[in-house]
Amino acid sequence: MTFVGQPVARREDRTLVTGRGRYVADIRLPGMLEAAVLRSPISHGVIGVIDAAPALELPGVAAVITSADIEGYVEPFTRPFYKTIPQHVVEATGLIVRPYRAQLLATEKVFRVGEPVAVVVAENRYIAEDALELIDVDYQSLPGIHGIDEALADDAPELHPEVPGNVHCRFEVSAGDPDAACAQAEQRLSTRIVIGRSVGSPMETRGVVAEYTAPGDLRIWATQQRPHLLRTYLSEMLHLPEEAIRIISPDMGGSFGGGIYNEEVLIPYLAIRLGRPIRWIEDRRENLGNARHSRDQVHDVEVCYTNEGRITGLKDRFIIDTGAYNPFAITLSYNTAAHLRNQFKIDNFWAEGLCVLTNKRDNTPVRGAGRTSATFVCDRIVDMVAAKVGLDPADVRQRNLIPGDEMPYNMGMLYRDGGNVVYDSGDYPSQLQKALQLVDYDTFRSDQDRLRAEGRYVGIGISCHVEGSGFGPHEGALVRIDLSGHVVVHSGSNPHGQSHETVLAQITADELGVAPNDVTVRAGDTGLIAHGGGTFASRSAVTAGSAVHEASGRLREKVLAIAGSLLEVDPSDLDINGGVVHPRGVPDVGLSLAEVAEAAAPGPGSRLPAGMEPGLEVTSYFVPPTVTFSSGTHVAVVEVDIDTGLLSILRYVVVDDCGRILNPMVVDGQQHGGVAHGIGNGVFEEILYSEDGQLLNASFMDYLLPTATDVPFIEVAHETHLSPLNPMGIKGAGEGSAVSPPAAVANAVVDALRPFGVEITEMPVTPAKLWRLIREAQAQNR
């Protein structure tokens, strides 16, 4: 029986559907106190006196701390949330990254609305919130920067002295000879494309519970995609050995972007200081304003092409409004540059990326991480080219896609991890063809004319994407067979909805000849394995899957070697089935895994072959050579009510290539959810700030996640091309589906409104914006 590739039912579900999940907010420890954070009400200013005395007098309040209280005990953030960028990437791109330094609690200045200023600890959250209102802070406002143009103006105030001109990072990438290509081009067009700001918005808000029972025993439960990274940070910032810290990421209610947060350092510190367990649970208003944001880019792009719509060159200068701090440095901007050419053969290319500091929330990765913006820019431009040369967008796409027989395709630039950007596998023209067949493109085109004659504006839009998935630097897995013959997997990558328990068990089950139910997968605990990466960058199946595969394979070899010696059979003539090691073709003679485990146990009774380490346990770390490129093609069919600007998505088709599919049910689920997330980004979600840096929509009434009535059924199909970069041929499936919807929907809207000649250069496409575009086009055509 092979389990990989089967829709094996989820091991996770029984707990979750019965309400027995254990999320951070569900953790209640004896003597536990609850915290609330006082946040800056202004976007930029100097802090004077903080008077917390009235708050401390409130019954039930245990402590109020400000920056003065942590000075000398807790270090500020100075280390960015990524591994150092390789020197050859720095040199090739002229990369400048200014120092990163972020305060945990505001000391002299605040740099954004919502920046933590003080923390209250009280008997419960109700009292803690009462106490917040009693803390008096003397703020003196400074001129703020609330947009890219303001940040780059000659007379702009400088937010941080170590960041001259507010430009935190800058780099250039190029391939071929874009200047020559554009000079010789038959046609060219230039446009500005603006990507709105959004926030990940998992249904569970962030949270931390910390308990310090004895020196050397700090235990933390956190909504953390990277528990091992948090441990490293806490070790450095609290001056503790890593061994003294155990981070547990329990059940997590989604989480679409990572990083280490102030509260994840402050709450453990307070637990040590007060000697009581402390729980901090973010509320939704805090989450929308203070979980890090994403997107928010402006692109000035020029594209050069032939009269037949063949794109010969692409140049893009883009700027990211990176907010008050930029802990991920070029992660987003470089992702944008590296994915800008999408699936297209555009050999002449130049891009410059700038990260500009403003008095807003940090701009960091959220599902898609820079690729959503890149894809929106690229796919909008391709459709603009099609309109200019008077061809169907599907046709122009086919003309520009990298041909299947040219794979693997070297894009002529470096990836952020130091590897070359090489699309390792896939067949993009065939993927597009399949998507067009699924949606029945030709029939749609004939229906479209008929519907237009009836005054109905329907349109079809295509977006494709690539995703450098499975980012390193490593992921670990420990696989053990215990004395009962049961298999245990410890993973350094922890889930927040991705079904690790089920999928990793499938991999191990196949390797060790057992059923997935004979395998227990544990993750999200730094006590399980020495090194762990976490879950981000569509990496879990690729990196954790490969690590589990490798560890399980090595363990299988050991089991066979031991059994071979016991049975006096050559190990290569043995097989494992149903948990029994037996000579191939003789299934009823053999040893159970429990018997092998007992033979392998240390001690005088050990029956191990000479020189073999005792125990049935293998730890493997998978180190990917570079990312592996998954891809997908999406087609959206929409209808626009031209009187109101309201948009309905009538159909949505996905053809995905994530290499080896470990569990089709899980992969399809990722596609459905990613598309909904992308529809949110493309149509509904936009974080809005006022001119003075106040967040205008910090509630779920005003920050709009798509609901069931906003998302159609998602029709998913697969085109599988195995990755050559890992043993099972896996490519990431978690994020790509979220990347394309804004572009697919925008292209469909433009298509629907072709009689008016509307162009879309902004995401999200809200009804009010769309109505204005239609009205302006109507006025022009009049």
């Binding site: 009462d130 209102e133 709009l704 009535t709 906003d710 109505w771």
Partner: protein, 289 residues
């Protein structure tokens, strides 16, 4: 996002509730369905010293037809009316409107009286009240009186109910049989607060319109009756061009505001479009006599 402290008083009978309101005046706030008040408390945007919970009061959840009127207790839940037999046939305007009030879990709990007293111009019941000549019975410890529809909505989220008064009964005069009515609303997502909404009642007799009402929600500080547009319809044939003219004439009566979901001019356009469409729908539904 936890409510601030308050004194909680659960009134067991009407006199007790009115006594508490008399005692605490504008320091007190009535808790009915709580679907508006509780979020305000969670954001700490409302800070009443005393909460008077009226959910136990008997007799505030009535619901019946009487002399061509729909009589509704102030504590009657939206969902009760939604499930009331015959309402969609008798007055589709009401059924249309209720479907836009949040979601079922909100409608199970939220009360009609609470919606009126909250006087949110983006809510459905206030504009229904204007369209259906609603009469509101209010009581205080010492007196009782009836407020007529338009007098109930005195300003942005300001009702005509005095701090010591409690709304007890609402009476909506249903359009006569044969009238057509419709209610259309646009929100960013289903169940969200409206960006615009229009309710219409039309009675057509001998091929002429002899009663026309147009109400707009989310179009200004209060719910609005577009009376000039209504009079343009009177004695006219229910023709497309007449509706177009009347729908255009809504514009001077409204004053929507910019917000994160759209600018005022967009909402003005929505008010026009929805009025026009509601007129068409109401005409289709009207029995022609």
């Amino acid at each position: 996002m936890k409510p601030p402290p308050f004194e909680y008083r659960r009134a067991e009978h009407r006199e007790e509730a009115l006594g508490l309101l008399a005692e605490h005046g504008d320091e007190a706030k009535i808790l009915a369905g709580g679907q508006s008040l509780m979020p305000l408390l969670a954001f700490r945007l409302a800070r009443p010293a005393v909460i008077v919970d009226i959910n136990r009061l008997a007799g505030l959840d009535e619901l019946h037809m009487e002399d061509g009127a729909l009589v509704v207790g102030s504590l009657t839940r939206h969902r009760a009316i939604e499930k009331m037999g015959g309402i969609a046939e008798r007055c589709p305007l009401i059924a249309d409107a209720i479907s836009h009030i949040g979601h079922v879990a909100i409608r199970n709990r939220g009360s009609v009286g609470g919606s009126i007293a909250h006087a949110d111009p983006a809510a459905e019941w206030p504009v229904i009240a204007l369209l259906l000549d609603a009469q509101f019975e209010v009581e205080s410890a010492t007196s009782s009186r009836t407020i007529a529809g338009p007098d109930m909505f005195s300003g942005y989220m300001q009702s005509g109910i005095a701090p010591d008064e409690m709304l007890t009964r609402l009476r909506f005069q249903l359009p006569s049989a044969g009238a057509g009515s419709a209610f259309l609303e646009v929100a960013r997502r289903h169940g969200d607060f409206a960006m615009a909404g229009a309710g219409v009642v039309l009675r057509i007799s001998d091929g002429r319109i002899n009663d026309a009402r147009i109400g707009l929600m989310a179009a200004g500080l209060t719910p609005i009756r577009a009376t000039d547009a209504e009079s343009m319809l009177l004695d006219q044939e229910p023709a497309d061009e007449v509706f177009e003219m009347a729908a255009r004439a809504v514009d001077p009566a409204i004053a929507p505001l910019d917000d994160v979901h759209g600018p005022a001019d967009y909402k003005r356009n929505l008010a026009y479009v929805l009025t026009r469409r509601a007129l068409h729908l109401a005409r289709d539904r009207a029995g022609v006599t």
